[in-house]
């Protein structure tokens, strides 16, 4: 596997400008001779498809939803970062770049992150021009807030619905291109495989989710913007349909999968309430600005929160981290919550949470102020749990939330398979081992609006303009594989449901490769996953028929892929013998229990090459070099 990051030469602040000039252009009259396939209509996919269409390329865009407005980008609550420095509080492109590299625990690529910080400015301009109703001050100018422990206020927001409003902006831009005829939008079509012709990405095979029809689609380039894989854990904050199929299929066709073990756990989610639990709900991290986190000091103390006197409460984050307290970073807060629950201090009927208490804040600021700040979140909590957080403390627990890992891409966002571009959460590029709050929306839109439309054009300018067709035998071969897999799933006719296997896999992944990992449990998981997979293919029952709308077959295909993908996550976590960012190996800690990063041996991107189902994948390394930010150790004590 050949990994060339293609980082342009020159000082970091000039790289993107220089590259934009160096890139080849396609003559406007020739643009319509190129067809580009875009898979996914979240922030990255919809913005890329709309922009490529507007530039004059012929775009075919695919989503498994009924509409391009439903992708999970829509659920992002908090906001989007941009180095606008509208607050005059000392922000700059370099500071956003610096914070992101440091926040990623020095496991991301400097050049990509710098470009992200640069184009963050354009994103806000673009969104406002589209009519995204960001929060404003009385003078009519845009409001900002500080988010996720940042020392500057650089987060733009639209109430608690920033993801929704940004996605609607992209969706509307996309639908405009659909109306203009530059984008052909295929809804309810799921990509099931990638077609590689002579080493080059040339198309995809899809299944129509209403008719079950399997179709071949050819293009001069394929852009994947298919999101992350947190649902490998079964319970996560991701939407139910989020899956790894598109990127995993590409990996099986030769694309390198980078850093799969970097999965982020969000500290403030509502704990599961029973076996029927289908997903976890995130409560915005902003709650930690005013809430105090505690557990009963005595393990197994079952008294209601109100009956536990102050002297018998353990405000453990304030105790461990006096300077950051309840605002300690996501990974640290999550691990400490797990430690409390594991040692018997968990609260709630299932003893699976910790308290987030607003009593002191209400006493200090009044209920009205708290309602103004968090009213909608309190209401959502009440809807789900039936408890009133103005009266009793919230119960929270960490949950899988975002995956920093993804397909390996170079500076142009192209994978090692020429013609295959990967954007947004689906790629690995910008967040290193840990993503900062309000940076996911920024990256999705940076990739989709401002990077890929240019770099895809540069690629197209170097390849022949001849029309691409599905005539090549590779298309028929891939279609046959897809049909065979579907037929095989339908024909097992066992006695267990798809969800039962997904839950079983999720438990193994959460225990071994979740918030805390260690060599022994990862090795055990590598024994268990193939066993679950084997039983899946013998015992699963997929009811109904494959040529109608059949949600069971959709789920079955996705879970079958998770059952292969889970192993590569464990291989990655096992071989990364250090703790960095969200990846915490209990063997690699400092004497006081904090993560111990090892820059001497592990300052690289792990890129995995698929070798066959159940076979150990091959590890390739892209070394990381830091010329502008010196790696340092995070401390929140």
């Amino acid at each position: 596997m050949h990994l060339d990051a293609k980082i342009p030469a020159g000082p970091i602040e000039k790289k993107w400008d220089k590259h934009r000039f160096d890139m080849k252009l396609v003559n406007p009259a020739n643009k319509r001779k190129y067809e580009v396939i875009v898979v996914g209509t979240g922030l990255a996919g919809a913005s890329a498809a709309a922009t490529l269409g507007e530039l004059g390329y012929r775009v075919k865009c695919f989503t498994y939803h009924d509409s391009a407005r439903r992708a999970h980008s829509i659920a992002a609550q908090g906001g989007i970062n941009a180095a606008k420095n509208y607050q005059g509080d000392g922000d700059s492109i370099f500071r956003l770049f610096y914070d992101t590299v440091k926040g990623g625990d020095f496991r991301s690529r400097e050049a990509n992150v710098y470009r992200l910080a640069q184009v963050s400015l354009n994103i806000i301009d673009q969104a406002v021009a589209q009519g995204v109703p960001f929060a404003r001050e009385y003078g009519g100018y845009l409001a900002n807030r500080s988010f996720g422990g940042a020392q500057v206020s650089r987060t733009f927001y639209a109430r608690g619905q920033t993801g929704q409003q940004l996605l609607l902006g992209c969706y509307q831009a996309l639908q405009r291109q659909v109306a203009l005829g530059t984008v052909e939008l295929h809804t309810r079509q799921e990509m099931l495989d990638l077609v590689v012709v002579d080493g080059v990405a040339r198309g995809i095979v899809t299944r129509d989710l209403v008719s079950g029809k399997v179709e071949q689609h050819a293009g001069h380039a394929v852009v994947l913007a298919t999101g992350g894989y947190s649902n490998v854990f079964f319970l996560s904050t991701n939407a139910k349909a989020c899956n790894v199929t598109a990127t995993w299929r590409a990996a099986k066709r030769g694309a390198g999968f980078a850093n799969p073990c970097y999965t982020q756990i969000h500290p403030t989610c509502i704990p599961p309430s029973g076996d029927y639990q289908s997903k976890l709900t995130l409560m915005s991290e902003s709650l930690r600005n005013d809430g105090r986190i505690w557990v009963p000091a005595k393990a197994g103390d079952d008294r209601p929160a109100g009956q536990i006197p102050e002297s018998e409460r353990d405000y453990y984050l304030e105790r461990f981290y006096p300077s950051f307290g309840n605002l300690s970073p996501r990974d640290i807060s999550s691990r400490r919550a797990k430690e409390m629950v594991d040692t018997g201090h968990g609260v709630g009927p299932l003893h699976n949470g910790v308290y987030l208490d607003f009593k002191d804040a209400i006493a200090r600021l009044g209920q009205e102020t708290i309602a103004e700040r968090y009213g909608n979140l309190f209401e959502m909590y009440e809807k789900i749990t039936g408890e009133n957080p103005y009266e009793v403390p919230m119960r929270i627990y960490p949950a899988p939330h975002y995956t920093m890992g993804g397909l390996w891409v170079d500076y142009n966002l192209m994978s090692n398979v020429p013609g295959l571009f990967v954007l947004g959460e689906a790629n690995f590029s910008d967040h290193g081992a840990n993503r900062l709050g309000a940076s996911a929306l920024m990256q999705g839109l940076a990739d989709g609006y401002f990077v890929a439309p240019l770099t895809v054009g540069n690629y197209l300018a170097t390849i022949p303009r001849e029309p691409v067709t599905t005539d090549h035998a590779a298309f028929a071969d891939v279609e046959r594989d897809v049909r065979q897999k579907t037929e095989r799933l339908m024909s097992v006719n066992g006695h267990k449901t798809v969800d039962e296997f997904h839950i079983e896999l999720g438990r193994v992944m959460w225990e071994a490769c979740g918030m805390e990992r260690n060599g022994a449990s990862l090795k055990a998981a590598l024994e268990k996953i193939p066993d679950i997979r084997e039983r899946f293919w013998k015992e699963v029952r997929v009811p109904g028929s494959a040529d109608t709308l059949n949600q069971s077959i959709e789920k079955a295909g996705r879970v079958a892929d998770f059952l292969e993908f889970g192993e590569i996550m464990c291989w990655d976590a096992l071989t990364r013998e250090e703790s960095c960012g969200a990846h915490y190996r209990s063997e690699h800690t400092t004497p006081d229990g904090e993560a111990a990063r090892n820059d001497r041996d592990f300052s690289f991107v792990s890129v995995w090459e698929f070798q066959g189902v159940g076979k150990e994948p091959t590890l390739h390394k892209e070394p990381l070099e830091f010329e502008n930010v010196q790696p340092s150790t995070r401390s929140y004590k």
């Binding site: 913005s47 507007e54 939803h65 009924d66 509409s67 391009a68 407005r69 439903r70 999970h72 829509i74 659920a75 606008k84 509208y86 301009d125 673009q126 406002v128 021009a129 589209q130 109703p133 960001f134 929060a135 404003r136 001050e137 009385y138 100018y141 845009l142 639209a158 109430r159 619905q161 993801g163 929704q164 609607l168 509307q172 831009a173 639908q175 405009r176 659909v178 809804t187 939407a239 139910k240 309430s273 029973g274 029927y276 639990q277 289908s278 997903k279 709900t281 959502m380 809807k383 789900i384 609006y449 006695h495 449901t497 039962e500 009811p543 109904g544 109608t548 709308l549 059949n550 069971s552």
Partner: protein, 256 residues
């Protein structure tokens, strides 16, 4: 709690549908309505039957995928709540629950509780956007927007496109959906250049899709999980009136 469910089952768009009755046993009051259906579906699969098809995704009340009539009410008995955020503690042991898809000419049924809402996308295609080229926008703070208008625009933009308004309306009108987009963009300075063509084109598409006319019942705003107000329909009608006056003004001759 134990419940009796009467669920609309329909194999495909042209097939005849029917209610089928299922028992949901030992349902936890903490489960969401969709989790209750998940449990029923798991047992149906174990019995060798086909599970009930229903749309859902984020299960946080924001993606707009889910939606069903629950005892004749879109998204069920709790105000400002999508079906995915409805919890079983609102029901009582022994309750009978009737579950049906949205019923409207503009929303053909695909299977069971799944309907085709692509008409909403086509209404957006007709003008529910601001025409702005990627990269051509001025600085975001170049145009101040009064906070009041920005907040009102956000109230309208909160629409999740679920279709409950259509399902609630005795005329199966999609006016609340359409007016929310017209108001969202029409309230902002960025939406002014296309304001009057937008409203005319979107209404034309709305009518073409087979949605009915608004007769001010207000059932839509009661059903809306996001609390979109019918004041926006009044606003749309004002814009439509102004647009009709503007139509009398001759268009400029096209030229350079």
């Amino acid at each position: 709690m134990n419940l009796t469910l009467h669920v609309w089952r329909q194999d495909e768009p042209t097939a005849r549908g029917r209610f089928e009755t299922y028992q949901a046993k030992d349902v936890s009051e903490h489960a969401s309505f969709l989790e209750m259906l998940d449990v029923v579906n798991e047992s149906l699969i174990h019995e060798g039957k086909e599970p009930i098809a229903f749309e859902h995704d984020c299960r946080e009340g924001i993606c707009g995928s889910c939606g069903m009539m629950i005892n004749g009410v879109p998204h069920g008995p709790r105000n400002l709540t999508a079906a995915c955020q409805l919890h079983m503690r609102l029901f009582r042991d022994g309750d009978e629950i009737w579950i049906e898809p949205w019923r409207a000419t503009g929303f053909p049924i695909l299977r069971d509780l799944v309907v085709d809402r692509s008409a909403f996308d086509r209404i957006i295609n007709a003008g529910g956007y601001v025409s702005v080229r990627t990269g051509s926008a001025p600085d975001a703070n170049a145009v101040p927007v009064r906070k009041h208008e920005a907040d009102r625009a956000m109230d309208a933009a909160a629409c999740i496109g679920c279709g409950a308004c259509v399902a609630a309306c005795p005329n199966a009108s999609a006016m609340l959906f359409t007016s929310a987009k017209v108001a969202h963009l029409g309230l902002l300075p960025q939406g002014q250049p296309e304001r009057y063509t937008r409203v005319v084109d979107m209404i034309a598409q709305h009518d073409l899709e087979g949605f009915g006319t608004c007769t001010n019942h207000g059932a839509c705003q009661e059903a809306c999980p996001k609390g979109i107000s019918i004041d926006f329909i009044a606003r749309l009608n004002r814009d439509l009136l102004v647009a009709s006056w503007k139509a009398a003004e001759p268009e400029a001759v096209v030229g350079g």
